[in-house]
Each structure stands twice: as C-alpha cells, then as structure tokens.
Symmetry: C2
Subunit: 467 residues, 2 copies
Amino acid sequence: MAAISSLSLKTSTKIQSLPKTHYAVPLNLPFSCRSKSKRTGSIGSRTRIHCGLLIEPDGGKLVELFVEESQRELKREDALKLPKIKLTKIDLEWVHVLSEGWASPLKGFMREDEFLQTLHFNSIRLEDGSVVNMSVPIVLAIDDSQKNLIGGSSSVALVDDENNPIAILSDIEIYKHNKEERIARTWGTTAPGLPYVDEAIIHSGNWLVGGNLKVIDPVKYNDGLDRFRLSPAELRDEFTRRNADAVFAFQLRNPVHNGHALLMTDTRRRLLEMGYKNPVLLLHPLGGYTKADDVPLHWRMKQHEKVLEDGVLDPETTVVSIFPSPMHYAGPTEVQWHAKARINAGANFYIVGRDPAGMSHPLEKRDLYDADHGKKVLSMAPGLERLNILPFRVAAYDKTKNGMAFFDPSRPQDFIFISGTKMRTLAKNKESPPDGFMCPGGWKVLVEYYDSLAAAENGRVAEPVPS
Amino acid sequence: MAAISSLSLKTSTKIQSLPKTHYAVPLNLPFSCRSKSKRTGSIGSRTRIHCGLLIEPDGGKLVELFVEESQRELKREDALKLPKIKLTKIDLEWVHVLSEGWASPLKGFMREDEFLQTLHFNSIRLEDGSVVNMSVPIVLAIDDSQKNLIGGSSSVALVDDENNPIAILSDIEIYKHNKEERIARTWGTTAPGLPYVDEAIIHSGNWLVGGNLKVIDPVKYNDGLDRFRLSPAELRDEFTRRNADAVFAFQLRNPVHNGHALLMTDTRRRLLEMGYKNPVLLLHPLGGYTKADDVPLHWRMKQHEKVLEDGVLDPETTVVSIFPSPMHYAGPTEVQWHAKARINAGANFYIVGRDPAGMSHPLEKRDLYDADHGKKVLSMAPGLERLNILPFRVAAYDKTKNGMAFFDPSRPQDFIFISGTKMRTLAKNKESPPDGFMCPGGWKVLVEYYDSLAAAENGRVAEPVPS
C-alpha cells in the first residue's frame, strides 16, 4: 500500500494571508516567507511556520511519551510495585494516541485544569500564554475501589487485561468525573444512545486520574495492520523524505468512493495552482473505536488498498496511514480534534466535509448536528489558526459523464446522490452501483464485507475479517 | 445611596505580573507601567492597560447602541413600517444590556458565528485576531410565524407589550435555534428545571435572529430604581471622577452580610497594600431576571442601602449600581459573563466566591457545579487575562469575636457557618442571627421582606414591594 517514493522536487514555501475565517484561498504568487503572527492565536508571535519545514507541532515540540529503550526493563519492574489500573480497549487507544504525540503538548491523561479548559474552551493555554486546540477530553476514569487502592501513591501502573504493565502514570491527580457535564459539554446533548458514551463513559468510574504518562513499550495491536500505524514523528519523516511542501489530510472512517478520490485529486490540483510544488495527501482512516454499524478497520484498509492499486489515487503523492484515535461522534467538537491531531503529524491543510464526525440524533428523527456547523466551528476554532481549512465540495454521480463529478447546481437533473445508506444497501444486496461510483476492486471488498457479515449473523463465522 | 465624593488622590498605575492563572497576587513595589502583552490573549500586543486610565473595554471601545437623540423620531417612524418582534421581559433586559455596551464589542443580538463561538469556545475572535470572552448566548428567539412575517426584510422593529418600538435590528440573520444543544453546552446539563431555561428557552421559537441593534430610547423601568442603573460609560465616568486607580467588582444577588462586608473591606486593604492609592468598590447587584426564591431586587437594594447607611461599607469608596443582566444560573459558564461585563464597566479586579452563579441540581441531591470550578474556569478563561481574579476568602461567624471573620482552620470550633438557607429560615421566623452577622438595619429589611411574602401568600397584599 501507498508506495513510498522520494520525489526530489525543490521545496518552496508559501504562506497565504487568510480571511477572517481560515479557509484556504488560492492566492496569486509571489508568496512571501513570513510569520503569520496575526493568525496564530499565540501571543509571543513566535514564528510557527518555518520556511522549508513542515508545520510545527502544537506547543512547538512533538511530545513523545516513551520510556527510553535502555530503561524499559527497569520501568517494567518499577511498574510491578505500583498500584495497578486495568485499561479498557479504548483507554489503551488513548494511551497509544498520547504516547505518540497526537495530542501534543499533552503529557498524559488530562489533569483537572486541562479537562476544564477542554470542556469550556475547546483549547488549552500554555505556560507561555499561547493557546492550543483541545476539544475532546482525553481522560482516564477510575472507580471508588481503584481510587482506594491508589491511596496516597503518586504513581500508578497502567496494565492490560493480563496485568502486563503498559505504562506508568506519575505525579497523578485524582478529581471528580462529572459524567453528565462531560457528556453535555462534549456532545451538546445528554440523550441516551451516544455510542462512545455508552461504550466508554456511562459505566466508567466516578473519578478521573490525570498525570504524566510514560509508555514502556510502544503500543502494538498485532493485527497485521501495525505497519500502517505511523506515528506523527514517522509521518513527518515520511513527508520530509518526499520533500512535501504541503500536506493535506483527509480523515475518513468510511470506504473511499470516486467522489472522495475526485475531491482529493482536485485538492492537489488546487494546491499546485496555489504555487505548491509537491502537495502530499495524508489519507488517514481512523483506527480506534467506531460504532457497530461502521465498516470495520480491516475491511476499510483492504478497500483503501484496492483504491490505490486501481490507480484512483496516485501512490506517489499519497501516504495511507492509520489514525489510532477512538471515535466520539461529537460533530463540531470532535472535528477540531481530528484536525489538531493532523497538525501534529505535519499536515497544514485539512479537508472538512459536510457534518464531520456527525451522526443521527439518538432519539429524534434528525441529524444530531447542523451539517454546516462542523466546518464553521473548525474555521473559528482557537489554536487552529495555522491550519488551512479546505471545505469539502459536494460530489455526486454525473449521469452525463458516467462518473463522480462536483455537483453543478445549474443542471441538478444530471446528478444522482448516492448516500452512505444507499451504498450499504447496494453492497448488502450484492447489487452494483452505477459505473464509475467506486473502483471495481474497492466495491468488491465492500460486497465481501457485507457477505461475511451476513454469514456471521447466520452463525457461519465467529468474526468477519477480510481474507 | 453610595455618596458620591471626589477624592483627589494622585492616580498611579501598577500592573502586576501574574502567575499561570490570573489570580491577583500582592507584589512588592515598585510596579512598572507596561503592557502585559504575554497575558492579553490577543496577538497584536496592543497595550491594553494604560497608565492612569481605567481598564480598556473589550475590543478597545465601549459599544453603545443608541440612536442619536436628533434621529429618534425619525427612527421611531421607520420602526413602525418594519415587521415587528414583540420582546419578552428577558429579551428587553438583553436589549438593555447590549445597548449600554456591557457585552462590548457585540453590536446586537448574536449572529450564528458569534453564537457558535460562544457555545464552543466561550469567546469570540475579532477581526484583528484578538479574543474577547463571551460565555452566555445573547440571542433573540423567534417562532415560525414571526419568521414568515419577517420574510425578506433585512430589518425588524423590536417592540414592547403595547407595540411601542423599542429598537431596530438591521442587517439581520436568521438561523436555527437548537435548544437542546444550546442548553447542554451552556449549562452542562439538560435536566428539566433550570430556571432560565424554563423561563426563556423551552417555550421560545425555533429560530434565532441576529443583527445590528439600535435602541431608540434608553431602556428605563420606571420602578424607582432607574437612578441606580448606571451604564458602563456612566460608571467609568464615576470611577474617573473619583480618581480610582483600581476598581474591584463584587457581583451579588443576595443580601449583604458582614462576611461579605469584611471581604470587601479586606480586598480594599489588600489593594492598598499592593500599592494602589484609591481602590474603589463596585457593589453590583444583578438586576435582571432571577429565580422565584431569590430575594427580589427592590428588597435587596433596600437592604444594601441600609448596609451603607449603617457604615458597614464606606460610601466614599463604594459605588452601588445595578447590573441589568438576567441571571442564567449557569455556574462556571456564567461567572465569565459576570466578570467580562464588569471589565466593560471599568473594573480590573473581580471577586469570585464559592460556586458562583451556581444552584442545586434540578433533579439530583447535589450542587449542579463543583464549588471550585467557577473560580478555576474564570482564572483560565480566554479573553479575561487582563482581569485580576480575587478568590473569595471564606468568612464565618467567629464566636470569640462576636462577629464575622475569615475562617481560621487552626480553631474550627470557634466558627459557625450560617448558610443562605439558615439565614432565610431565621428571617422568615423573625428570629435574630448572632450579633454581628448582619447590620441591624439590613436584617430588618430581610425580616420585612419575608413578612410581606407571608402576607402575600395569605392574600393580604398583591405583590410584596418594600415600603
């Protein structure tokens, strides 16, 4: 997947001056290489975008939270002597996220001041007065008995199902977990039936424990996909190796169809028009917790692989990697997290679609979020001023071209909108979408997935995994 | 009330450098007069605090939204030709708030981008990239029929109960009023029984209308208290006339007891110790909507008057005025509004107590907010970096002194805590609190109030108003 090739294009730098919101706009050359101090949201006017380098991580430095290799055995022994907190699957995903610096400059699970700023301001102020975006709480819940077990210890060991030490949390701080307030402020509703809430919050403990995290061994899942789980540092190395002078990130948790592909290809074209010489796409499927009716990661990765194989996207200018975060389905709040994490991985352009990270209201017959709020909130979010927001253009099936094209409102009769639901129904029924909707190889993977799912439902296989 | 006297003390200026949070800390002299650019949260490093002047309003300029006197008749006639929106009592209070610039730099009821930033970030970014605090939505709801009535008109007239035009809202923008999301993000709960929600949101329309406000005549209530309703501009004039070199605001919606008085007196002492020559107290009872079981404004004002008459507070260094905002009871979210509005009135110090703007959870047997979150959130709030936060010190009745004193944890047995509930029960039963809890004149007002309330409940008088 995602052939790695080094293009020796000359790196040039271009900074666009931006309008009130920070949507990217094409500008005529020449571009000048200077600090966008008026847009950084920080006070010290430190230059955040350097000539010839990738966008700086939040806080100026990528925060990796690994124990040094030479110290691992020692720390493992230390961990055995500490009070233990057993991690859930989602907790472990957050340990992974934190350890690799996706949430830089966080140094571990949130302390109360970070949690409160996240809930109230979707951003955190640093010691130097600058502001970084942080919209979803990254917290570790413990119950009364775990709290009692910790007692006065200033450190705890975070362990897996089998009590193997994964990480140490030190200089800890325990504070109240007001679940109702957390849910209301994160999702803008407390309606029952929010997937992440049901999975990770409702039955979690009434306390949160924050502290400084050190992971003993880098988190691996041994599921055949670890090779796609590039850390922000690894992605930055890769972009640098490719001499990328712009990195545009595309977050997804669905199969890629030709409308997506058109958008990504078109984005590259626009960036070239802006004067960039080598814009590289970060195709970045979310790899952590997703709700039950989303297509599982394994199948999605297989589908993405086919899309690249079929030449729909150019492997020379595309990096496919897995974003290890769990999914909140928190719409305008969560899209900020998705964007912010990609800054840390080196992306300075972010493609945002209609209703990002949205879902149906769990009780009412409507979408939970206004379809436009995601991109509006993202464009105004504190700490994301450095990121260029690229709003998604609507693509639909153009009957006159037998393929996906950007919707042309002057001839609506020529277009068919194929919703996710429609797509799933077709694949489930082994029907074919119109030619040109998705590359045949990719579509075949989808049909196989739903086939395996039906088989699993009929009790023929225990867990559908792509062959 | 609040004798106005001009003290001709020399104005000096002192800026404290502040720790990570912006609590005020006493510093040794000398103070230097310089910009706190690292703490302003704005980017342009414009000097926000000037030597010898009051703190600048948010956005640099107090935004008053009055029609010029010479234009009033003309605008009144214009208004008669426009589609009309009838204001509720609370809507009118917000018109009042907006028109005098308490919410500077807002130019009228919020547009969608301001509303979204308020809900998600508790702050609004201005054109120049600087950030002002804005934590509670100041919005005007309309229903479907009103929306239809407005049709394509770009302006509407805001009218009172009798269809008298109060104001014009121009260049309007109509957008969806997602009440659930507004409530969840403002209060951190959607539990039924929140007073402001029941009063002003639940039955309001499904649309919000934002736009530029111009008030035809300054809002007056003709209730005998208008003389105490000083606008931010009038308060600034008053502080300047008194040569105040520090203004410390005390928000309240309860009777003042000697614990409060001690705190205010002690704050002045601390400010003098810091090197200020003439700190002036803004004793600033909230005058808009309050919940049914709060003591009504008329009685509170009478009680405050007695406290000043009894010499508990020094009228020479105290300005008593009414803050016209309605009350949200939204805890950590609302305390930011209370503080921000006082910046616009010239206050650079803000006293914050335990559980500010808090209340009991409407369904559960607990306080809705953590008692410490208000001051923590306030100390970290974007756009309030210029304001010095003075946390409330706990006062209690000291039996050894027969009076209110700051609680001394080394001798807890000497102190009695008299809660609001206890105070109300005593007053209702015409019992006396311990000597020194409240000045006798003030206590008498409270007893009268509960007496009149009981009388009203017995049908003897229609509406309890102090004589």
